[in-house]
Amino acid sequence: MTLSAGILILILSPGVILCKKRWSKIYPILLSLLGLIYHHFLSVESSFVVKFFGFKLNLFSYRLSGDILTYAFLIFGLCVYIFLWSKEKDRFYYMFTLWQVGAAAAILFVGDFLSFFIFWEVISLSSVCILFREAGLSLTGRYFIYQMFGTVSLLIGIGLNYAHTGGMDLQVNTGQLFFWLAIMVKGGVIPFHYWLTSIYPEIRLETTVFLSAYTTKVGIYSLAILLPLMDLQIFGGLIAVIGVIYALKQHRMSRLLAFHLISQMGYVIASINSQIMYGQIGAIYHLINNIFYKGLLFMVAALLMDLFQTDDLMIIRGRGRRYLPLFIITLIAAGSIVGLPGLNGFISKSLIKKGLTNSLTANLLTIAGIGTALSFIKVLYYGFLCVNDQKQSSNSLRVKWHQYVSMSIIGLVCCLIGLFPFLVISRFDLTVNLFNWTDLWKGIWPIILAVILFITCFPQLNKLILQITPDLEGVFVNARRIILVQINLGLKHLQRLHSGNVQHYLVWIVLTILILWTYIAIMV
């Protein structure tokens, strides 16, 4: 009987409320460190099953991919808590974020639907609590409704499965559509991404770091647990491309990163259910990488926000050049996300491409790669490189040391698992050498192409993209309005039926007696 690290964190998380001011900042760091150490020494054969309400709650059943993801979740959590050191956050904030970390780490190991569902909901609930303290209530409410939509379809799916098999094992036999819907909502995948792109820009960016690292990742990872047989290659490729195209349009860092998050998830979706070993490992690897470099990028955005009170690249316009360490870190993160050899993104993208069986998807992913490179060259250029002709404002804000520490740790991890991929891959009993010329070239040429495109014709390209892309959010808003109007009409009709006249109610009763009595008289 062994708890998983996530459940340990969940159980200990209320302790943060008891902590005094300074300790409330140290407590989460210590807790995630403890979780990390605890997890490291966890035995593979251990399990944890409790009986509850006539169901067996299988809270810990070892899963290899989950094991590696737990490391990523906890290391990242540790870094974020270090990053948050100087921010004024109260104890409840820490508790809710610890819930998020704990539930995300716990769900990786669950073995039955009930506990899966519980942790799935704890993740939504904790993110709602976090959001509620950051964003407006109406926004949180919208987020909650989106999440509940996913939850309800998950619940329906589980019900269908239970009807089919009579068991609670984490194995989908029927009703794949509902599970797919739930995962898509949770993961913020394109037709259901509205909550992601509308909420991330509205909240504090350090909170976005949390949300981006856990909620969506868990959603996409569930694809591997729940729907291992669903072939989503072309779907994933399309999402990668569409996400990138919309990302290119943006000039606010947070929106841009949000669309890139969607796009990168496209890579994972494309290959997480691949029948080839490379593809699956690549997908898991990409998830881990995504946690790190996307988190790093959000941290950079948060710092830019702190320094310049905006994350709009067109307003920053190269003012970031004064912060050289920040630039280096951004370079590492951007290099990772575009797949520069020597950094972790290269490894996962190469593995994913090896795992594809569909040539169309491969081409789509290449296009997405070019787009990613383009947009991050844009970030680097407008954020740090370009010469600002306006008068420099004389703010003397400095980046805090602990922020550099936490970012350097993440950057270091990016480099480390980029240069020595066997650190991760060897756990899967797989050896692969990607540092040969063909793979290197495959990784590099989209970047070179992107650099050339950026230098030669970026303004024209930008204009083209603005013209051809439809306004997705407008469509959403319109659709929502039309649906609401229809529902309202129906409800009004229903209200009119409840006219307040007792005799009408009596007529309903008599009618029901008549129908039921006839039914019985026929049945007997």
Partner: protein
């Protein structure tokens, strides 16, 4: 004979129900309710009835009595029905004071 008694009971009940569904005056509703109740009281009395039976006070000279239990039940039902009717009338008085009408169709502030 049974058909007649049965249909009397049912028709009484249905008549009361018809009144309940169509009459708009609250007082009339109370009356209709009493008619419906009368039908079930008749039913109770027919259940224990014996053609040659005497009232159930045991005397040495009589050996056939009607069933006492349905009568007791009917008595209880009468008392309960009377209480309900009284309550209805009290409500009627009170509602008339507030709404200045006895029309059930006008008592419709609660709807939707």
């Amino acid at each position: 004979m049974e058909l007649i008694i049965n249909s009397t009971i049912i028709i009484l009940f249905i008549l009361g129900l018809y009144g309940l569904l169509t009459q708009r005056n609250i007082i009339k509703l109370a009356i209709c309710f009493n008619i419906m109740e009368a039908s079930i009281l008749i039913f109770f009395l027919t259940v224990g009835y014996k053609p040659e039976g005497s009232y159930p006070i045991i005397r040495p000279e009589v050996d056939s009595y009607v069933q006492p239990l349905p009568q007791a039940l009917a008595l209880t039902a009468i008392v309960i029905g009377a209480s309900t009717t009284a309550l209805m009338l009290a409500f009627a008085i009170k509602l008339y004071k507030r709404y200045h009408t006895l029309d059930i169709d006008k008592l419709r502030r609660l709807r939707g």
